[in-house]
């Protein structure tokens, strides 16, 4: 009975009729052209309309209505007093720089950008979907000041690492939190290393670029503190399209877009084409196993390619070069994306349904990726006070084969490094003999590359559902309460297949993992927004959140097969080995923030959050952290020369606490396979810490935003300093302790730096040419201030002779190893054989972190045409290229034939060890280049580069042409990505490279699968 009463009350509320009148008008721009689609709203009321093709609108208003709000993308939002007239016309002014931009801040709170006391950068959805990049993070490259984006490779599904403002955590996660529609999205990536494996990609690659409305990058803890622990590295807040139109405008929208992108390898090593396979100038093929003359060798120190017949794997064929053998192995990759979306917006409800299919065929044969994304949003205004919204996305991310990488036979690039340069790859396509064995140029170390990609496949399938349901109730006109439940759930199957007759695995094998991740967030918050007086606006919120995370993995390994080609446990020869893992964690939080905006020039913001984490010991598991920011819009307060359009200074200080992973507190035993039926357990190698406390990040940020000449010139400058203390990390300890690492709470790592964005509009004209220049620059200085007591250095990773370390007093990620032995004058000290040698002392050899990054974008538009291009650059960031060292070792690189070294040998320029006299001992090219393995610091290069990152050209079909069709607008564009490497100091490879997304692989390179140079074509139509 009571419920019905409430219902009547609600209905009564919304059906209360006020006296109404109609206002009409026309909106034009400064040149008198009609503006179509301008949102016209009644301030403070949920009533709105939109201008038609003639720029005209009509809106019904009540007597309460005092002010009309006009907003239009690219123009200044205007407020116009209605007064008594029934006609309100308006000339809108262009807003070049989006001064009145509203951005999404932490916890989805929209704020006017001008008020913010910290740096936030927003990117429109079109900028991202227009690239046709399957991994959404790659599209942010060059667009966000302070973001360091490293893509694994150009192979399908490879992961992308993104950090904002450098690395804060010594051994933990350094990537920002990814939020989609208010819900954190798992972005875990497999811990890939350089010794082989499959890069299954970072999980946030599931996000479909076509569904993105906008992206807000909250660069540091100052902006993201309200998200708590996981946003200590900042946050990327993605809002998907909802179908909702401003002001409750009614209508149906249909859009269709289609894009095709073609990819070719961006850079391949420069190979030599003068000498073929073998050793000491000898080669004669018999069985590819060493049965002939040097025919087991996978290096190119064989005879000169003289065109004479010679026994080879193909028969007695001419001994000739195949200069494009590697290049021709690659196919033209193609990504084809089709998106279809319908949206509808009515008086009481709105909705959007979108389906996107992305089909990618990799540059490597038989590699692919398919993504199907179905996204549905619906919102209902149940009453004037109560509204509900549901957003849900289903994504299938599927590949039949993701290529392997690193120093491993699964990586086809491995054998192009250890290669006979004369090999005709065309002849390898028929890779299988009739008896099921391989046809190949070598059987000692390598599989036929087509065998690897066709037989030893790595399929992956991920099904993901994520979404959020929320209910908002306006308690009063200044206080509302919002409850929401969000879920991110996926299940993923990964398989690695090794066929029978594979070199090294005659019995074949396979591994299969079933992964399951779930995160649930339940939130309730009270949101206040009130104008206290003419001069004072306050807003704030108080909320609680309960987060629950679960991870489940079930793995099976079959290390030998009974019959070929059946990759099922039932086909195991011997016992399959099984492994299971389960973990869960929860964090309960309460938080609040309050903002005060005074007299339109001063904004003050304070926030507080308290987390309770299940992963910390009961006595330390609750932690509280505050943040505050202030911004002062001095152009609003003081009268300044008229060219000074806008000026703001801002400052903020924030603290963020952090917990750790589950199960770090107690010692455990790990099981291994039973021996002869007797169970085996071994002591876990990690020393746990029973008394962990939360870690803390303190961050200070200062900035200013200045705009001049009616916003045709603008600068946004930020300085920050951030310290992360008491980090919870497993530090490597000497194995002589009986353990390999210990969980500790220690350390202080500091990041400080600047971010600068500049805008310039040299040409601005409604009918003529427009030219905009955007410039971004960021410099981050990292320093490890202290590690744990008694710990001199922490190992992050190690490949071959080079270790990546954190050392006090040094920047994070220094490369450490034995340098080549030189005298005080820098001359090489050669050994008794006349070859360079390494010094016994270990020293710092380089640093993987870049000094600075920058990008310049030039955009031009003229009538229906637009053109823009982006130059992107990085200074510093050393790379240890084992491709260079092994490429020399194997005699495949151009350098190994330079200066006739193969014919004449070389006397290394250096001095003798015993007496310092000049070296006079001649060595062969083979000896000299093999020796590079002992002086690995010669493979460390400065990773600076200048890249022609992007060029896009667009054309909108004029309305006059399509006016008799149902098409509302039609745009065609061409976009090229990763076009040219304008400047680089590193030979043979793309300086942007990574084995994966982890900390320990930064700066290491070997057998890089080439990144892609791509050209895309797209058509976008709306109806």
């Amino acid at each position: 009975m009571r419920k019905i009463g409430v219902l009547f009350l609600l209905i009564g509320c919304c059906s209360l009729a006020f006296a109404q009148r109609t206002i009409t008008g026309k909106v034009t721009d400064e040149d008198g052209e009609n503006l179509i689609g301008v949102a016209v709203l009644v301030k403070g009321q949920p009533t709105g309309s939109i201008t038609d093709i003639n720029g005209k609108y009509s809106i019904d208003v009540t007597e309460e209505a005092k002010v009309l709000l006009f907003s239009y993308t690219g123009y200044k939002t205007e407020e116009v007093e209605i007064g008594s007239s029934s006609e309100v016309n308006l000339v809108m002014k262009m807003d070049v720089l989006g001064l009145e931009d509203v951005v999404v801040t932490a916890l989805g709170i929209s704020k006017e950008k001008k008020k913010l006391g910290y740096a936030v950068q927003d990117i429109k959805g079109e900028e991202i979907s227009g690239n046709n990049e399957t991994n959404v993070f790659n599209s942010l490259s060059g667009r966000v000041a302070g973001a360091n984006i490293t893509s694994g490779s150009g192979s399908v599904g490879s992961s992308t690492r993104i950090t904002l403002r450098g690395n804060a955590s010594i051994l933990g996660n350094n990537q920002p939190l990814i939020i989609v529609d208010g819900i954190p999205i798992d972005n875990s990536a497999p811990g890939n290393d350089g010794y082989g494996g499959v890069d299954y990609g970072n999980a946030a690659a599931d996000i479909n670029p076509d569904d993105i409305e906008s992206v807000s990058v909250l660069k540091g803890p100052n902006a993201a503190a309200l998200y708590g622990s996981r946003a200590a590295n900042g946050a990327i807040v993605i809002t998907t399209k909802s179908g909702k139109r401003k002001g409750g405008v009614k209508g149906l929208g249909v859009t269709y877009s289609s894009a095709l992108t073609l990819q070719r390898p961006f850079r391949l090593p420069d190979y030599q084409n003068e000498y073929g396979q073998g050793y000491n100038g000898e080669f004669e093929y018999k069985d590819g196993l060493g049965g002939g003359t040097m025919d087991g060798v996978d290096e190119s120190w064989g005879p000169k390619l003289d065109g004479q017949p010679r026994a080879q794997f193909t028969g007695n064929d001419p001994w000739v070069a195949h200069p494009d053998n590697v290049k021709n192995f690659f196919e033209t990759g193609a990504t084809f994306t089709n998106n279809f979306a319908v949206s509808s917006s009515g008086e009481r409800a709105y909705g959007r349904l979108s389906f996107t299919n992305t089909n990618q065929k990799g540059m490597l044969p038989n590699t692919d990726l398919t993504r199907n994304a179905l996204n549905a949003t619906t919102g209902i205004n149940i009453s004037d006070r109560l509204s509900a919204e549901v957003k849900a996305t289903y994504t299938q991310n599927k590949s039949d084969n993701i290529p392997g990488n690193g120093y491993d036979g699964v990586n086809v690039m491995q054998q192009f490094n250890w290669f006979g340069r004369q090999v005709d790859i065309e002849r390898l396509k028929d890779y299988k003999n009739e008896d099921g064995t391989q046809f190949n140029w070598n059987h000692n170390y390598h599989n036929n590359p087509y065998w690897i990609l066709n037989e030893n496949v790595n399929p992956r399938n991920r099904d993901r559902v994520n979404g959020v349901a929320s209910l908002t109730y306006d308690l009063t006109n200044w206080l509302k309460v919002k409850g929401s439940v969000g879920n991110d759930f996926y299940t993923e199957n990964r398989k690695r297949i090794v066929a029978m007759n594979t070199v090294g695995f005659p019995d074949g094998r396979f591994y299969e993992d079933e992964l399951n991740r779930r995160e649930r967030n339940s939130t309730l918050s009270f949101i206040v927004e009130k104008q206290l007086s003419d001069k004072v606006d306050i807003s704030g919120m108080l909320g609680g959140n309960s987060m629950y995370q679960q991870y489940r993995r079930s793995s099976v390994s079959v290390l030998a097969l009974t019959v070929p080609e059946i990759y099922n446990v039932s086909n195991a020869n011997g016992n399959p080995s099984n492994d299971q893992f389960f973990s869960e964690k929860s964090i309960n939080s309460i938080y609040g923030n309050a903002s005060l905006f005074y007299d339109r020039f001063l904004n003050l913001d304070v926030a507080l959050r308290r987390d309770v984490s299940s992963t910390l010991p009961a006595e330390n598991n609750a932690y509280l952290y505050p943040s505050a920011s202030v911004s002062f819009l001095f152009t609003e307060k003081f009268s300044l020369p008229s060219f000074f359009s806008f000026g703001k200074v801002r400052a903020s200080w924030a603290q963020v606490g952090n917990d750790t992973d589950p199960y770090q507190l107690l010692p455990v035993y790990n099981s291994s396979d039973p021996f002869n039926g007797n169970p085996s357990f071994t002591v876990n190698n990690v020393i746990p810490a029973a008394d962990l406390k939360p870690e803390t990040t303190n961050s200070l940020e200062l900035g200013t935003e200045l705009k001049f000449y009616n916003n045709r010139l603008g600068v946004d400058f930020t300085y920050y300093k951030q310290n992360t203390l008491d980090q919870i990390m497993p530090v490597a300890v000497s194995p002589t302790t009986g353990y390999t690492s210990k969980i500790i709470n220690a350390g202080n790592m500091q990041n400080s730096g600047v971010e600068i964005m500049m805008y310039l509009s040299p040409l601005k004209s409604k009918t003529g040419l427009n030219w905009d220049v955007t410039f971004n620059f960021s410099k981050n200085k990292n320093k490890v201030l202290e590690l744990a007591d008694g710990v001199d250095a922490l190992r992050l990773g190690r490949y071959w002779g080079v270790t990546l370390e954190a050392r006090p007093g040094e920047p994070y990620g220094v490369m450490v190893g034995n340098p080549t032995l030189r005298d005080d004058a820098g001359r090489l000290i050669v050994n008794a054989k006349g070859l360079p040698q390494k010094a016994q002392e270990v020293t710092v050899l380089g640093n993987v972190l870049p000094d600075w990054r920058g990008g310049v974008r030039n955009s031009f538009s003229y009538k229906n045409f637009d053109l823009s291009f982006l130059i992107d650059m990085r200074k510093g960031g050393d790379i240890f290229s084992m491709s260079y060292i092994f490429g020399r070792y194997a005699g495949i690189l151009e350098e190994t034939v330079e200066n006739n070294i193969r014919e004449t040998g070389i006397i290394v320029e250096g001095v003798k060890e015993e007496d310092g006299t000049p070296n006079d001992q001649k060595v062969t090219a083979q000896q000299y280049n093999h020796n590079f393995y002992s002086t690995q610091d010669m493979g460390i290069f400065d990773g600076s580069f200048v890249k022609f990152r992007e060029l896009s050209i667009g054309y909108s079909i004029p309305a006059s042409i399509i006016k008799n069709t149902p098409i509302g607008s039609l745009k065609i564009s061409v976009i090229g990505r990763n076009l040219l490497l304008l400047q680089s100091n590193i030979p043979h490879i793309d300086p942007e490279t990574a084995f994966g997304a982890g900390n320990g692989v930064m700066g290491f390179e070997y057998g890089q699968q080439p990144s892609a140079r791509s050209v895309g074509f797209s058509v976008r139509a709306s109806f």
Binding site: Y279, G291, A560, S583
Partner: protein, 480 residues
């Protein structure tokens, strides 16, 4: 009423944020915090033998540097161009795997009062530690393996090898006292299937190995120790036949197949050395056919160790099938034949070994032939074998060392150590394409570079005197 509703919602909100966290949530459901000690012992035995007799340590380094094996592909290590990563891996695989496990077993067995478990674990710990110090010299020992204890150090200092040896010898004596047939059950271990009497024999036999190792630097201790053991077989039983040998028989299925076999499944990097072939041929030793395989032309052609370039594979003899082509072939921890050679050497030193040099020598060679299943024929009368021809104890010592070197085939860690101790066989010479020309045979393994990150100062102290990582400083027991 509205206020009530707000109040209720507020309370709910706060509850969701302040809800108590269940401490059970952080209890690891995947791994136990307590397990039966026998399962840990199992794991320690298997993992230690797998490393000490594995393809890296035993085949690629020690057997190669003792020149029984020659590398035929990837020949860098045969030229003493070691890989740092190998050193780190071996170090870690010994310290943080079996040694760590055994320390936990010892501590818990003491606590629970299980003397047999403790005695076996102490024996295995010495078995691992002596091989570790035999290649690296001074290593963390007394303060090692204490990382998880509240007073344990994370940076153990490197102890002098002399002190380590003295303690290991005491540990084995203690193990003998602890081991008691009929005492606590240690489960079905991979070496002796739980037979304590055999563990007792192994423990004492191993003690003779250690004592003989220090016989040149500290003859007094060595003689007293060996005479004590051999003089009281009731208190200190030792191996009495090949049936007592300490060995782990591998299984036919992955992941526990013989490590040399496993390596040969995918790699063909090791041949028999020409030093080995020549020594056997010089003595008309029929064991050649067991220890080596003929090449493609049916001949026994050994690989020159550390040659400047790799050979034609078809021309080289590989390691014998019994060691390389049998998944379940055993790894030998210590054999009766070796014990007999130790007794022979003791007798030759003039110590009271309860037997004559000649008798013990012939018994030892017979045991080796029996072990390999080869008919001995008139081998003992071969001129370069016959002990009766040798006049001086020095000449006898050479014969003993040569024969021991042959009999120890497949136990590279032991042959490499014994070569450095005795200097025999004389046929072993610096390889022609040494990466350290003129420096001779490596005296030791290079220290792992990981210690430079985690234990820098202690490592630096231990490195003093070492030249070019493997030279300049001998083992304590290696007196030229």
């Amino acid at each position: 009423m509205k206020n009530n509703a707000i109040a209720i919602i507020l309370v709910l909100a706060m509850l969701s944020g302040c809800k108590k966290i269940d401490p059970e949530m952080n209890v690891n459901p995947n791994s136990p915090t307590n397990v039966p000690l026998r399962t840990v012992l199992n794991s320690a035995v298997v993992s230690s033998v797998r490393t000490l007799h594995g393809a890296t340590m035993n085949l690629t380094y020690t057997s190669t540097w003792a020149q029984q094996v020659g590398k035929i592909q990837y020949i860098d290590e045969d030229r003493y161009a070691f890989r740092n990563a190998h050193m780190d891996l071996l170090w870690e695989n010994l310290y943080s795997e079996p040694l760590s496990d055994l320390q936990v077993v010892i501590d818990k067995a003491v606590e629970a009062g299980e003397p047999n478990m403790e005695g076996v674990a102490r024996t295995m710990k010495v078995y691992i530690f002596h091989q570790l110090t035999d290649v690296w010299g001074d290593v963390p020992y007394f303060a090692a393996l204490q990382g998880a204890k509240s007073d344990g150090t994370l940076q153990p200092k490197f102890d002098p090898q002399s002190e380590i040896y003295m303690d290991m010898i005491n540990e084995l004596k203690k193990a003998n006292d602890l081991l008691n047939v009929g005492g606590d059950d240690i489960g079905k271990d991979p070496v002796y299937n739980g037979d304590i009497s055999l563990w007792k024999k192994f423990s004492n036999s191993l003690r003779t190995r250690l004592l003989m190792r220090i016989s040149k630097i500290d003859p007094g201790t060595a003689q007293a120790g060996i005479e004590e053991i051999l003089g009281d077989p009731v208190k200190y039983p030792v191996f009495e036949s090949n049936a007592d040998d300490a060995q782990v028989s591998w299984l036919t299925n992955v992941p526990y197949r013989n490590p040399w076999f496993e390596n040969a499944q995918t790699r063909d990097d090791h041949g028999i050395s020409n030093v080995m072939v020549n020594i056997l041929n010089d003595r008309n030793d029929p064991r050649l056919q067991y220890l080596a395989e003929p090449n493609d032309s049916g001949e026994y052609v050994g690989q020159q160790p550390g040659d400047s370039t790799q050979p034609q594979l078809a021309l080289v003899s590989r390691i014998g099938k019994a060691f390389r082509d049998d998944a379940s072939a055993p790894s030998f921890l210590m054999t009766f034949a070796e014990l007999k050679f130790i007794i022979t050497e003791a007798a030759n030193n003039g110590w009271n070994a309860g037997t004559s040099v000649e008798q013990a020598y012939n018994d030892a060679i017979n045991a080796s032939f029996d072990k390999f299943g080869v008919n001995i024929g008139n081998y003992l009368l071969e001129p370069k074998v016959n002990i009766n021809i040798a006049v001086s104890s020095g000449e006898k010592a050479q014969l003993i060392a040569e024969q021991k070197w042959i009999a120890l085939f497949s136990q590279g860690n032991e042959t490499f150590a014994e070569y450095r101790r005795t200097g025999f066989p004389l046929e072993i010479k610096e390889v022609p394409a040494s990466a350290y020309p003129g420096m001779g045979i490596p005296l030791r393994f290079p220290y792992p570079t990981g210690e430079a990150t985690t234990n820098r100062e202690n490592l630096a102290a231990a490195q003093s005197g070492i030249v070019k990582e493997m030279f300049g400083k001998r083992m304590w027991w290696d007196v030229n």
